[in-house]
Symmetry: C2
Subunit: 289 residues, 2 copies
């Protein structure tokens, strides 16, 4: 593949940014990947692991001649990064992000780049593991995974196509939807499950018999709570960013649990079996997709 | 290995009973495995798959010359099966079960075999998959898994040792504890997580955007909800059998969720990060065990 662009700058070379860098280098999508971040040791590690070609700790220098700038930092750091790079972007540079909530990022971008900026393409790769950091990065992270782009109406269609091409080069399947729709869907499939898993592990951890409880945990528990090993700062940010949709989902879920505990209180096996059977059917169907 | 006993009779040749049969045959623990159940087609399938050596649909005939009888049926069927086999057991036969809740099974056994019967060893293999039925059975299901035995004080120690030997022959590690303790621990590590997963899938399934929600679900969701594919009847039985302990855990968990949703309502990032960080630490520790 002839390189589509010269330089991709990735700000934040952790699991998400680092894996994208590896995939782009392997695919030949760009001629070079410049990494940027606050911590020089991380960037040096990224060079050592051959994740990036060059690094800068000054974000203005980093984005200076970039054709694409990917901001892969925690949601709470987005606005500050956008403000730092805004004055230094070239007149054709396309900016995107990899945040797990999209409405707040779009607001942050508008505030930093201005309402008329039409080269910010909000994006979210639906991938990741419970690990974090550049040492967890790997080339295949986006292989056959979905990436959702949520550009607003004013965004230049060429800019959207360029970011879509970039993710396709990394092996992903790209879909486009509104930021509002994205945030609602992800609240259900990702944000709520993470909260439930964090909550369960913390709840069991408060029991007097905590050692016993973890000692007899089996595979189901292991799978169910794997995501509770995720980065707490990242998840605090996601919770605060997508607060409204997550609260909506949590309310629905709390009602659901109340229904189940009432059925238990009343020894109502019929009600339990109805819920469990509906869930099994839906889950089996999902499995066969 | 010289066969330890002549005949093991397994009532209920589904995933749990069938996998035990396969493991016992492979290990040479017994000379033959007799399968029993209500449905002749299942038993024929078990013969065809070489899971059992012989079958009976009449439980009295099945247990007639058995040294060990393993009752691996849903919790709601235990009492009835115990009543059917009680008059036909040999004077030395040891009976055990594989139910996921232990206090109710012990009560059922006492009612069927009499208060003085000292050869019933309640047991629970902490293993299984979300699949069920004899076609899902496999030899290695108990390999390196824990089996908890919860014999009451009156149970003959030789009987306990025989059942422990049987599970060890199947590859398992055997532990002993009280039925009360078992039921509390399992409510936290297994029963509550199953309820939470069933509840989440059913909750999402009720959304108007259900197709979208499942379409964008990633690996975390897949792992988190795998157990929602489990058998609804089995889980209704577990819920009703271990009602009190499960309700206790559910109350604690509902309080935990309320704490999290209040933190969200109040935009309290500090409170969220505290919970998430404690959970991550506990989960990482569990992973390293």
């Amino acid at each position: 593949m002839t390189a589509k662009v010269k330089t991709v700058c990735i700000i934040g070379t952790g699991l998400i940014g680092g894996s994208l860098a590896l995939a782009l280098k392997q695919s030949g999508f760009c001629q070079r990947v410049v990494g940027a971040g606050r911590t020089e040791a991380t960037l040096k590690k990224a060079i050592e692991l051959n994740v990036i070609d060059h690094y800068e700790t000054d974000f203005s220098l980093a984005v200076n001649d970039a054709d694409i700038v990917v901001v892969a930092v925690p949601l709470s750091a987005m606005k500050n990064v956008f403000e730092q790079i805004a004055p230094a972007l070239s007149s054709t540079a396309v900016v995107t992000d990899a945040g797990s909530a999209k409405q707040t990022v779009i607001k942050d971008a508008e505030s930093a780049f201005g309402k008329d900026f039409n080269r910010f393409v909000a994006g979210h790769p639906i991938s990741g593991t419970e690990k974090s950091g550049v040492t967890a990065a790997f080339t295949g992270l986006y292989e056959n995974r979905k990436v959702i782009l949520t550009p607003t109406d004013k965004v230049d269609s060429g800019a959207v196509e360029l970011i879509a091409d970039m993710w396709r080069a990394a092996g992903a399947e790209v879909e486009t939807m509104s930021a509002e729709h994205h945030d609602m869907v992800l609240a259900g499939t990702s944000h709520l499950p993470h909260i439930l898993a964090f909550g369960l592990v913390d709840c069991l951890n408060n029991l007097d018999e905590v050692d016993e409880v973890f000692r007899f945990a089996a595979g189901g528990f292991r799978d169910f709570t794997r995501i509770a090993s995720s980065d707490p700062v990242m998840w605090r940010d996601i919770c605060l960013s997508n607060r409204k949709d997550i609260l909506d989902m949590m309310n629905k879920y709390q009602d659901q649990l109340q229904t189940i505990s009432s059925a238990l209180e009343n020894n109502d096996g019929e009600a339990l079996i109805e819920i469990f059977a509906r869930a099994k059917q839906a889950r089996d169907q999902f499995n066969n997709q």
